[in-house]
């Protein structure tokens, strides 16, 4: 500890270089921290998935609907607690630019399965009593200024749901989240409303079906067995099903976006390497400048290991300062990043991003490790150097 002032003095000696190294490191660590936060958000979506929830869809793909009559048949299987029909409506409000996800659901069952949607009880009651009722997340309400009782129209992008005129909805409830990861940007409305609007135009060849059956099982340990039982139940039917855990279902959507995870990790690696180069550059300059001093220290009898450690500590100090600053920057900026003009495209789908303690610690450790790595070669050089050579060269 008594050598600490010595290290600090060295860092201050060429303060421009120290500052620019720390700044360079901080921006890079900020970038790594942001990328890791996005990766963490992706991980969270699958990890937060509830193990007692299953999603049943048409075996070919989500694009096809299943017969509504499958619901009671799933409900009757042992181990099944609740089943709710849910259809992706793909409604467009005003313009495609104002798109938000909308689902037609059987509310009584659906919200039993998804207790994370926090709907005030009186609003939920009003919603149940209004055929055109809609429940919207707080984010949608804030973005478009919706209040309870507001009437709005939406048209679906999906051909069978285009019934010749837009669907009219009344905002009956605005929900909050019971947990941090709850998506507050979704709209729900009555499946019955969708069904009857389509039935009214039956002659055109449209028919209503179930997009997914969202299933809650009584015992999460048996979820896999129940999933198998559901699919086996329809094995010999005209429409076969595919049932998977909520986590696997979400993971499928993430796989669709391509190799995002590998891409972000690759960028992170390149950034880490850049930090290494910048910091190694600084440290090798610092040691070269100080050859005489190192020789003098050694002459005075300071052991080579101590001389080496002093260089290393200096490098670690750079890592700590740069890393700390970078993580702080990320913590301050990451939540607002999606508001920047072009970043919304990338980060828009992850509302409420924040640097988790895990990611913060991870990136900080990366910074410190990079500091050590950058200091290693110059430090070993200082350790090995011969006093006479160094004194002569200076």
């Amino acid at each position: 500890m008594k050598y600490f002032p010595y290290v600090l003095k060295h860092l201050r000696r060429n303060w421009i270089r120290t500052l620019s190294t720390i700044a360079g490191m901080a921006v890079c660590i900020f970038l790594i921290c942001t990328l890791q936060t996005v990766l963490d958000a992706i991980r969270q979506t699958t990890e937060n998935a509830n193990p007692s929830r299953l999603i049943t869809r048409h075996a070919v793909s989500l694009v096809f609907n299943m017969p509504l009559a499958y619901k009671p048949r799933i409900q009757a299987l042992p181990g099944v607690k609740t089943v709710a029909t849910s259809n992706w409506f793909g409604g467009v409000y005003r313009d495609i630019k104002d798109f938000f996800p909308s689902f037609a659901v059987e509310a009584e069952d659906y919200f039993k399965i998804y207790p994370e949607y926090n709907i005030p009880p009186d609003q939920f009651r009003d919603y149940l009593q209004d055929m055109r009722g809609a429940l919207i997340g707080r984010d949608i309400a804030e973005k478009y200024g919706f209040k309870i009782g507001d009437v709005f129209q939406m048209e679906s992008m999906i051909p069978p749901y285009r019934v010749g005129r837009p669907f009219e909805f009344v905002v009956r409830g605005i929900y909050q989240g019971n947990s941090a990861g709850t998506n507050l940007g979704v709209m729900f409305f009555h499946y019955k409303y969708l069904y009857e609007s389509i039935q009214a135009r039956k002659g055109v060849g449209n028919y209503a079906g179930a997009g997914t059956f969202n299933v809650e099982v009584t015992n999460p340990n048996q979820a896999a067995a129940v999933a198998k039982a559901i699919d086996a139940n329809f094995e010999n039917s005209d429409v076969q099903t595919k049932t998977e855990s909520e986590g696997a279902f979400i993971a499928g959507f993430i796989a669709m976006t391509g190799n995002l995870v590998a891409l972000l990790n690759g960028i992170g690696l390149a950034v880490a390497f850049t930090i290494l180069l910048v910091t190694a550059n600084t440290m090798s300059m610092a040691v070269r400048e100080r050859r005489t001093e190192i020789a003098v220290l050694k002459t005075l009898g300071f052991p080579s290991t101590l001389v080496m450690s002093l260089v290393l500590i200096e490098a670690v100090a750079l890592g700590v300062l740069g890393g700390g600053l970078g993580v702080l920057m990320a913590e301050g900026l990451v939540a607002n990043l999606h508001k920047m003009p072009f970043m919304g495209l990338v980060l828009g789908q992850f509302p409420g991003l924040s640097v988790s303690p895990f990611v913060g610690t991870l990136t900080f450790s990366i910074a410190v490790a990079l500091g050590i790595a950058a200091g290693l070669i110059p430090a070993v050089g200082a350790y090995r150097s011969r006093i006479t050579d160094m004194l002569r060269q200076a």
Binding site: I16, R17, S20, T21, A23, G24, M25, V27, C28, F30, L31, V60, S61, L62, V63, F64, G90, I96, E155, M157, I158, P159, G205, D238, Q240, K242, A251, G252, A255, M256, T257, G258, N259, L263, I267, A270, V271, F273, T274, I275, L277, V278, A280, N281, T282, S284, M285, F342, M343, L345, V346
Partner: protein, 386 residues
């Protein structure tokens, strides 16, 4: 009077190791930028290649993709016999009515992803002239046979000539593999539309693609269709249609590229700055001498900015070389039809130019402060020092 360029080049050479580290930092930034831009471009090029400028694709009015479009067979027939549609040697119109659905299939690396299944007529190969069978043969109309795009064939489970695909309780025999100039079609499965439509419980078509006699008339054709009360359809040039579909993904990738390049670039500029400061400090005496010889402050400043720009351009060139292996890497991303489109990274001139411009900017930014310090060196102090 300006200093000769060789002065700068040689002085970088003298301080080799520090210079190399700074060059390495800049090279990495440029490489990352080029790879990301190459990815965005690759996706855009793959989709653009899907469409032809001669063709018009007609979909349901207001639909954003074929999957969200629907039209009756009657409407498709009326469109096919339009006088503006080109005809083949036998007098049949070059019109390809198509059914589009997606199926979740298992990729070799594990996940299930959506794949476009397209029902077509034999005329589709006359309308899409870039599509050709490279293995096996084409499907026979009326049979449960399919042909598979090259990229799809290479990347999914269960692919092989003669093997069968189980979909909708039917067995579809894979009889051929087709290529389509690396375009989005290569990520699809094609079969007979009249077999597929009932098999997948569809009614009518999703789209009809028409080869026009006069491609410049597509806009007028669309204007007319938009006013036509008989059918709810819209027409757009096929290439434009697919380019529009690449917008969201390539836009997001370019945004990511911009963000990463700027932030990383700032980091690397600090590295270059350190190097330049070290170079200036080591040459204080030399600078003093130059000033004493009569070189102006401006000449010194310019010389050092040039030196750092040169360093950065060398770094940029190295970055281009580092990025080169990325050319041709194949990847996949979500396309418009709620399905995956495979594409190859393309290092375009634009990517290289963007990388080099970024490198030059980093060089100038990193050199400015150290150069101004060099320019302010007081002659007497500099000569006395060391």
């Amino acid at each position: 009077m300006a200093l000769p360029l060789s002065y700068n080049v040689r002085s970088l050479y003298v301080r080799g190791r520090v210079t190399l580290l700074a060059i390495g930092g800049i090279a990495l930034v440029v490489a990352v930028l080029i790879v990301l831009v190459a990815m965005a471009m690759g996706f855009r090029i793959a989709l653009a290649a899907t469409g032809s400028t001669d063709n018009a694709i007609v979909t349901q009015r207001g639909s954003t993709s074929e999957l969200t479009s629907g039209m009756t067979r009657e409407n498709a027939n009326v469109l096919a016999v339009d006088a503006r549609v080109r005809r083949d040697a036998n007098g049949r119109p070059l019109a390809s009515p198509e059914m589009v659905v997606v199926a979740a299939l298992t990729r070799r690396d594990g996940p299930q992803v959506n794949v476009v299944i397209r029902g077509v007529t034999p005329q589709a190969f006359a309308v899409r002239r870039g599509v050709r069978i490279v293995e096996g043969r084409t499907f026979q109309p009326g049979l449960y046979e399919v042909i598979v795009g090259r990229k799809m064939f290479d990347r999914f489970e269960g692919m092989g000539l003669g093997r069968a695909l189980q979909l909708q309780r039917r067995s579809w025999t894979i009889v051929g593999v087709f290529e389509a100039n690396g375009s989005g079609f290569e990520s699809e499965i094609w079969g007979d539309v009249d077999v597929m439509t009932p098999a997948f419980n569809r009614i009518g078509y999703q789209s009809i693609t028409l080869t026009m006699q006069d491609p410049s008339a597509i806009r007028a054709f669309n204007d007319e269709l938009q006013r036509n009360p008989r059918m709810q359809v819209q027409a757009i040039q096929e290439r434009q249609y697919y380019e529009d579909q690449s917008g969201a993904v390539s836009g997001a990738l370019l945004a990511l590229a911009g963000f990463v390049a700027i932030v990383m670039g700032i980091g690397a500029v600090f590295g270059a700055m350190n190097t330049m400061y070290a170079i200036v400090a080591a040459r204080t005496r030399e600078i003093g001498t130059l000033r004493a010889l009569g070189f102006s402050r401006i000449a010194i400043l310019t010389a050092f900015v040039i030196e750092s720009t040169f360093l950065a351009i060398v770094g940029g060139a190295l970055g281009c070389v580092l990025a080169l292996p990325a050319n041709g890497i194949s990847s996949a991303a979500g396309g418009a039809n709620f399905a995956e489109v495979a594409f190859a990274f393309r290092i375009t001139t634009l990517a290289i130019v963007a990388g080099m411009v970024l490198a030059a900017l980093m060089g100038i930014a990193g050199g400015l402060l150290p150069a101004s310090r060099a320019a302010r060196v007081p002659i007497t102090a500099a000569l006395r020092e060391a």
